[in-house]
Structure formats: C-alpha cells, structure tokens
Point group: C2
Amino acid sequence: MTDKATANERVYSAIRWEILAGDRHPGQPLKTAELCKRFESGVGVVRESLLRLAEHGLVQVRPMQGFRVPELTADDLRDLTEARLDIEPLALRYSVTQGGAEWESHLVGAHHLLTVTPKQDNSGKRYSPEWGKAHGAFHTALIAGCRNRRVLGIAQRLRDTAELYRRWSTGPQEDTADDHRGLLDAALARDADLAVDLLTARIRATHDVLSQHL
Amino acid sequence: MTDKATANERVYSAIRWEILAGDRHPGQPLKTAELCKRFESGVGVVRESLLRLAEHGLVQVRPMQGFRVPELTADDLRDLTEARLDIEPLALRYSVTQGGAEWESHLVGAHHLLTVTPKQDNSGKRYSPEWGKAHGAFHTALIAGCRNRRVLGIAQRLRDTAELYRRWSTGPQEDTADDHRGLLDAALARDADLAVDLLTARIRATHDVLSQHL
DNA sequence: GGTGGACAAATATTCGAGTATATGCATGAT
DNA sequence: ATCATGCATATACTCGAATATTTGTCCACC
C-alpha cells in the first residue's frame, strides 16, 4: 500500500478541496455514485466524508435527498460576515500576542508566496486557484499563533466558507497587496489593535464586493 | 415503518445524548461492535454517527484506533472557558437584542422548568440528569433569539462541551438559582450589558469549580 | 531478567449487493 | 388545462461479510 492514511481521510480531503477550489458550482448535487468512481472507493467512504463536511456546513445534506454544494445567498453572506467580524479578531489578537518565532517565520514565508503568485487566472475574470490557495494560506498563517485550538478552529472554518464565496465572485479585482503588507507588518510589530483594525476593514471590504454579485 | 427519520439520525442523537448525559466515562473507548448491538444497526451507521460527533469534538478519533469519549483535562478546560468567554457573550447579546415574543415565551418556560427540577441525584453527589437537561435547555433558550445561525451554532457547541465537564464534576454544588433568575430578568428587560456580565461571571465561576476536580 | 519477533485475537476499515425512498413521466379524471 | 395517481427509473440508505491494522501474548534468545 502506498497510502499511509485511511481512504476516508484521502476522500475527505479531496472532496473538500474540490469544493473550496470551486470545481463544482454552488447548488450542484454531489452524487455518491459519481464520487465513488472518481475516487475509486466504496459508497461508505464517500458518505462518511460528505457527512463530515456537512457537519461544518461545507456541503448541504437533506435526508434521503442526498448532498449538494451549498447555495450562496446574500443573507448567508451577511451572517457569515457578521460572524467573521465577531470571531476572527479574537483569533488574530491571540495569535499576535502569543505567536512565537516559528509563527513569524511561517507568516513571512506565506506572505512572500502570496506576493509572487499571479492573482488572476488565464481568462482574467477570476482569481487563480494558486492565488486563492496562497491567500488562504496567508490568512491561516496569520492566526496560526493562537494557542487556543478551539478558537483557532472556529475562525479557520469561517475563513474556509468565506473563501468559497470569494471563489465564486466574478467581480472587479480589488488591489489587496497593500492590505496584506499592512497586516504582515502589524503582526510582526505585535500591534494587535492595528492588525485587528486592518483585518476588520478587509472583511468589510470583501463583503461589499461579494454582496454585489448575489 | 415506525421511524420517520433515517437510522443515521437516530443513532447520532442516541450516542450524542449518552455522552452528554455522562453514561460513559471520559476516555472510555466507543467500540463499534458494541454500539451496533445496542442500537440494532449496521457498522456503517454507527461509524457515520461517530465521525460526525468527532467533527465537533464530542468524541475523539484516531485513525485505525477507534473512537473514545474525550478526556477532560485542566488545559482543555482552560481553552474551553476562554472560548466561551469570548463567544457566548456575542450570541447572548444578539439574542437579547433580536429575540421576539416567542423567544421570551420559551425562555420563561425553560426557566420555570429549571426552578422546579431537583438539582441533585439520589446519591446527592452529582447533578441529576433531569437538572442537567433543564439547565442546558435554559441556557439554550437564553441565546436562541440570536438570528445568526452560525454564531448560535458555535456558541451552542461550546455549551455542550461545557456541560460534559459539569456532568463529571463531583464537587460541592453551587447555588445557582439566583444567577439564573438574574439572567432571566436581564434578558427579559433587554439589558444586554447586564446579561453579559452575569453570564461571564457564571462562566468564570463554573470554571473555578470544575478546575478543582482535574 | 529483559528484548525482540512471530503468532493469535481483537478491532477498525472498506466494499458492494440489497433495500428503501424520492423523482420524473405518462395516463386518466375533473 | 390542471391536478391526481400509478409506474419506472434514479438515487440514497443500510447491512454484513471480507480485508487491513493494531494490540496482546508467548517464546526464543541475549
């Protein structure tokens, strides 16, 4: 066996990534039969993965009616933004306060990768998958210094869903390079108040852009 | 068929309740074979339920080593309390601000049930399961006015875990009737600041009592 | 006595066939 | 034309046997 992890873990990660990367449209059904063939696994493994994802809201499930990619609505985006504004600052404050040298190191590296990754895909209409990945990794690194695993996990899941919305926005590309630079500097300077201000401004700006497309 | 819901949902709720009610000791393995016999279902259903619960931290899972009831530690309690102090006030504030007549009605009813339910079990050393249930229902009703389903769900899950710690505390019983009365009055008076103060005081007090038993 | 390796038992994981439910379509009645 | 009913198909759900892995035990060997 070349696989170290269980099939469950493989399929879970694969489906999760497909959704976050935007390979599937919001509202699209996720049929077990199709996923079984694609991942060469039995129906049980696929169901277990989908149910786990559903528990975090990354797929919708209705009994006896199967699974589907969540619909994106203006109402849901409002709730999501509200929750992010309430909770992500908590994680960021802990991170900036508690993060050590290793945290700084990863953060600097993640920011560098973000700056050198092309933002748009070939069509020029969407964020490139690579940039989306680098962007998510930067924000993950930003709060990764938070020692409280619960708060960190909650914030991270909110970010994942926000990334899903971003993936499906087709609107004008903001210029966010300065914002990210500012966040990095504030974090490295251990200026929690400034970092939180910048982050909340980013979240609000993201909301305004995305809400125009729903 | 007498069952309306799927077997999955039945087993999920049953296992969840057994854990929250304290029928199983922290750290105790949850063997699929045993659960299958008890709930008269196949192994797939039990696994799906356990994996879903694991996603919220209500059971621990390690690949190829099965499932178990989470261990309760002082470190984890500290993280949990910190997260509760950060997040539950958010949900309470929304609830007190946004809750309608129906919310008030359920809240008053839940409080009444709490006041008339005996607090201790027969041995006098533990909280009675009925009181635990009523206590959880009161706090759930308290924040149920929050319209943001995400914030509400996050707060509720933190409360569930806190209830698990409470269930396993064997220490001196606090007198909490006044606190609950105060919370009810503040909520009905729509005094969010006061309600939040009372709630945070309660969370801190709970932490102090529970941390002595770990 | 302690160590390590082979074997056996217990347990977790995976798979696919069998069953239950939902969905779409055709038919007929109001 | 609209709605209801029944049938056919597609899909979800469940089960238990088959497989893979871990855990425990015994024994040879140092």
